[in-house]
């Protein structure tokens, strides 16, 4: 502000906007917001400056939270369980402190992050109806979760600040209608005797169930309904806001800096992205060899088991299947030499010459043994994550790569699962439902949790692994690693495999995972 008077050049930004369509920004052009409440209704878009990195980073952090929230929902966690599960996640990615606990700079920054990341994702997820619906549902859940966490006074202040047209029922009016109010709202003896009134159109659900008193078009609602009303209002405004954003998206005045970020973000929503980290290998526990792959394949996720079976059946895999599988094997700690041996032996119908000329190079390239400087320095490609498998082009005839949960028809998928020994009826039904809702990675996690339910319980009960090690699995190599560790729980602990348990590895891994994002 002061700078503006001193340096007239900046005034250019503050010039009156002549285009009436842009007038919405006229008032708050490039202004930082003051956040007086912990919670935010996200009615005004942010107008302050933000770096591209922050723009993306904050978006990703929020995305993580939403993905975890969705995972809770799809596993039928109770509200209490969800709350417990989400608390560390929220603290890690999107801390929001109460006004009392931490005000000033840090608190404001947290709120700014919250505000900006919401609007970032709003842009990213407004493109299709499907994404909009999902985003609105999850945001509403997050909003509710936080609102419940808010302390009573702050919540009251926040709700009072909302642009909702409710009015507290005054003492006189209350006395006049007390019996009716009590009868209508099912207010019990020990309940709070306070009500507020709104237009009845705001609370159609309560009207429908006859749970409010109606007087000349006003609904008298008990305070206990207030929370759900706020949440309803939140989703309503968000949904209409998303519709609006969707309509404006094609005309976004954009210079190719935001586009890729937004695209990436909405892509990651298919399955949250998870980076691969070295520690997903079991190289430090036991050294996998070409000969041990057959034995280890029981711990593979379905996508890799499927490739392995196809390979054994046909003694061949097509290019993308080979690539996917090779990278996975690299990820579990199979050395280049062993990997070459593995493929050589597996392709037993192929002559040595042909193998050398057509296949060897690709394997070495994947490991970064050959190829350009960048490839070598990066030690080849990183193993594919679930997100990559779920978004790449689906396999055509003869190809077997990708995620079977996505590429197989439900009936074939169930057949495949049964053939690898998954036969629990309830589990298969759950998988069918997940797949029907396109929650492919949730289906995969469901199978995993069922297969290891015993040891998982033990791990949880004895608090052997940190919570981050029990997150939703988002990478085939994580799947393998956990599966392997859980199956060898006793051995690992007693040191038979020469390792000190998952602890150190786990934290390291999750830190690495977050870093790679």
């Amino acid at each position: 502000m002061l700078a503006a008077t001193a340096a007239p050049r900046i005034d250019a930004k503050k010039r009156a906007v002549l285009d009436p369509r842009k007038r919405q920004f006229a008032k708050a052009q490039y202004a930082e917001c003051e956040y007086s409440h912990r919670m935010n209704f996200y009615t005004t878009p942010p107008t302050g400056d933000v770096s591209l990195e922050e723009f993306e980073e904050w978006g990703i952090a929020r995305l993580k939270v939403l993905a975890e929230l969705e995972a809770c929902q799809f596993r039928n966690k109770s509200p209490a369980e969800t709350e417990e599960y989400m608390k560390p996640v929220l603290d890690k990615y999107m801390r929001l402190s109460s006004t009392g606990a931490r005000s000033g700079e840090a608190g404001q920054l947290e709120r700014k992050r919250d505000h900006y990341s919401h609007w970032t994702l709003r842009l990213a997820f407004s493109s299709t109806a499907d994404l909009r619906q999902r985003f609105a549902r999850l945001e509403a859940q997050l909003f509710k979760l936080r609102l419940q966490h808010d302390n009573a006074t702050e919540r009251k202040e926040f709700i009072a600040s909302l642009p909702m047209s409710w009015e507290v029922v005054g003492e006189e009016e209350k006395r006049l209608w007390l019996d009716d109010l009590k009868a209508a709202t099912g207010c019990r003896r020990d309940d709070d005797e306070s009500w507020f009134k709104v237009e009845w159109e705001k609370v159609p659900e309560l009207v429908e169930r006859r749970q409010c008193l109606l007087k000349r078009g006003k609904a008298y609602v008990h305070v206990r309904e207030q929370l759900s009303m706020v949440v309803n209002e939140f989703s309503r405004t968000l949904e209409s806001g998303l519709e609006l954003a969707a309509r404006h998206l094609p005309r976004l005045d954009e210079d190719n800096r935001l586009g890729p970020i937004l695209h990436h973000l909405s892509q990651s929503f298919v399955a949250p992205d998870a980076g691969y980290s070295e520690s997903s290998s079991i190289g430090d526990i036991t050294v996998p060899t070409a000969a041990s792959i057959d034995g280890l394949s029981q711990h593979f996720p379905l996508c890799m088991q499927n490739l392995h079976r196809e390979l054994r059946k046909n003694s061949h895999l097509k290019h993308f299947g080979r690539l996917q599988y090779t990278l996975f094997l690299k990820g579990i700690g199979l050395s280049l030499q062993e990997c070459i041996v593995f493929w050589r032996k597996s392709f037993k119908l192929i002559a040595d010459d042909k193998f050398k000329s057509e296949y060897l190079y690709n394997i070495r390239h994947s490991y970064g043994d050959v190829g350009g400087d960048a490839n070598r320095r990066g030690r080849g490609y990183t193993p594919y994550s679930c997100q990559k498998l779920l978004t790449e082009a689906p396999p055509s005839a003869g190809q077997t790569h990708g995620c079977p949960y996505r590429t197989y028809s439900p009936d074939n998928l169930v057949g495949l699962l049964q053939s690898v020994g998954v036969s629990d009826r309830a589990l298969l039904q759950g998988v069918r439902e997940d797949v029907g809702k396109q929650r492919f990675h949730i289906a995969c996690n469901r199978v995993f949790e069922h297969a290891h339910r015993g040891s998982l319980k033990k791990v949880k009960d004895e608090n052997m692994w940190p919570a981050s090690e029990l997150d939703t699995i988002l990478h085939p190599n994580t799947y393998f690693k956990r599966s392997f560790l859980l199956k060898n729980l006793g051995n690992v602990r007693s040191g038979d495999l020469g390792v000190v348990g998952g602890d150190g590895v786990g934290t390291q891994e999750s830190a690495a995972g977050a870093g790679e994002l």
Binding site: A183, G186, E201, P204, V207, E208, R210, L213, L214, G217
Partner: protein
């Protein structure tokens, strides 16, 4: 020939109407002449209005063309009031098009409220033609006179003119935006509890059920929802419709309509003895309704309907009482002295209960509640709620002739609701005779004086039309006042809200 005439009639676009006005305005035509002009129109249409050329998805067409037999068959056995000639007379001389237009338009000058509103015609042959719309009251009148629909129904105002719906690239752009909130109460829903008649028949005894229903629903709409412009209309045979024209009611979406309908629905007609699980303490709306209904329960239900007189009917009552000890005691008592009236049986419940025939777990309070439930079951309005829940539901217009009875669907004045007698509602044939009778009576009048008295004023339709005009005048007044206020507010808020 008559066939094609009906199926193609909806194609008549607004654009052609001016031409028509010149060609066939005042000449009263007989049926064939009318049909031939329509054919001309139809051929004229196809040149400039090609929306029928590609798609045949309009609901009216397949429905009309799939059943050509009933169209030609029933013609000879038609009652007089359904004859095109009678209907043409009715539409041209008696039907109050102007107030109806104002009622639907909410303003004296045509606006989208009326112009984009769907009308559906049911033609004498049984053809059902949807998506008609009219630019003005006169054009609407003309088409009615020309097509002589047996009845027509009123639908919502659409986002665009319903006649242009097929010119849209996106089908989703054609959606209903506004309609009066409507209710339908039909006597058939009362069949499980009325003893006097069943099905389509009614008598003064069971009309009382409709009276009760109107009172309860009207009270709830006014007191709870604050609606003021409620028009009750006799449906022509055995029920009543309500049209609520408050702006707030008209603009409700389906969610709100459903919520409101379910707020009012307590007992449904189909499943007898269906326990709705009425919560205690009673919701103030139920409580008020019960207070309104109590006197009717004594006189109209217990005395007039006598619903539990015979032994097997009394079983229904016993089934509604939840206490086994009480029901066996009552059963015994009624077995030993049959022929007790419903009134006696109703008071027997209390006497037997007081004599100690109650289970230990069943309190006197529960008995009071059970009796309340029974009273509600036998008196509470039974709404055909589906009609109210959808914005795009069509409902028969007021003042049309009921094709089965010939009675005009007149509005019911709720101030003298008890005096409304469905059997004294004039039929269309009666009304036409009344005009003739009036003419004969006033032979001595000069032509000039005679012209001052319009046709409808010469008949017993007069009080109903006058009531309707008064009602519509009130609506328009409120509407223009609200419109002014709304515009002022918009002027203030407009600067910000227009941004998006």
């Amino acid at each position: 020939m008559e066939d094609s005439d009906m199926t193609d009639a909806p194609a008549a676009p607004l654009g052609n109407e001016e031409e028509e006005q010149v060609t066939d305005l005042p000449t009263p035509q007989d049926a064939t002449a009318g049909a031939s002009t329509k054919l001309e129109d139809m051929f004229g249409d196809d040149s400039d209005d090609d929306d029928d050329e590609f798609s045949s998805s309009a609901p009216a067409r397949p429905a009309a063309s799939s059943q050509p037999d009933p169209q030609s068959a029933p013609a000879p056995s038609k009652p007089r009031y359904a004859e095109p000639d009678t209907l043409r007379q009715f539409y041209s001389r008696l039907f109050p098009f102007r107030p109806l237009f104002q009622w639907l338009n909410h303003s004296p000058t045509p606006q989208p409220d009326f112009q984009n509103r769907e009308f559906a015609f049911v033609l004498p042959g049984g053809a059902y033609i949807r998506y008609q719309s009219f630019a003005s009251a006169d054009l609407f009148r003309k088409q009615c006179i020309q097509m002589t629909p047996e009845r027509f129904e009123i639908g919502p105002q659409y986002s665009i003119n319903p006649r242009d719906r097929k010119t849209l690239r996106k089908a989703s752009a054609f959606r209903p935006v506004m309609k009066e909130l409507v209710f339908d109460i039909d006597m058939t829903d009362y069949d499980p509890i009325r003893t006097c008649c069943s099905g389509a028949a009614i008598c003064p005894k069971c009309w009382q059920f409709i009276t009760m229903a109107i009172k309860v629903v009207d009270a709830a709409l006014r007191e709870d929802f604050g609606f003021q412009h409620i028009l009750w209309v006799y449906s022509g045979r055995r029920g009543a419709h309500a049209w609520i024209s408050d702006k707030r009611a008209r603009e409700m979406d389906d969610t709100k309509r459903r919520a409101l309908a379910n707020y009012l629905v307590l007992v449904s007609g189909n499943e007898q003895g269906k326990k709705t699980g009425i919560k205690r303490p009673l919701h103030p709306h139920i409580d008020r309704s019960l207070k309104i209904l109590n006197p009717y329960f004594q006189t109209d239900v217990l005395a007039d309907q006598d619903p539990w007189h015979s032994a097997e009917r009394a079983e229904k009552l016993l089934a509604l009482l939840p206490d086994k000890t009480l029901t066996t005691a009552l059963q015994k008592k009624w077995d030993s002295s049959p022929n007790r009236s419903s009134n006696q049986k109703w008071s027997d419940i209390d006497t037997v209960a007081e004599a100690g025939n109650l289970s230990a777990t069943f309190t006197a309070k529960q008995l009071v509640e059970a009796k309340q439930d029974i009273r509600l079951e036998y008196t509470y309005p039974r709404l055909d709620a589906e009609v109210s829940k959808k914005l795009n539901h069509l409902l028969k217009s007021p003042f049309v002739v009921h094709p089965g009875t010939g009675r005009v669907c007149v509005p019911i004045d709720t101030r003298s609701l008890e005096d409304f007698d469905p059997f004294s509602v004039p039929t269309v044939t009666q009304l036409l005779q009344e005009i003739d009778a009036w003419d004969a009576e006033h032979v001595g009048m000069t032509e000039e004086d005679r012209a001052k008295v319009q046709d409808w004023q010469r008949t017993s339709l007069k009080p109903y039309v006058e009531y309707f005009r008064g009602y519509v005048a009130g609506l328009l007044k409120a509407e223009s006042a609200a419109g002014k206020r709304g515009r002022e507010e918009e002027g203030v808020a407009g600067s910000e809200s227009m941004e998006f």
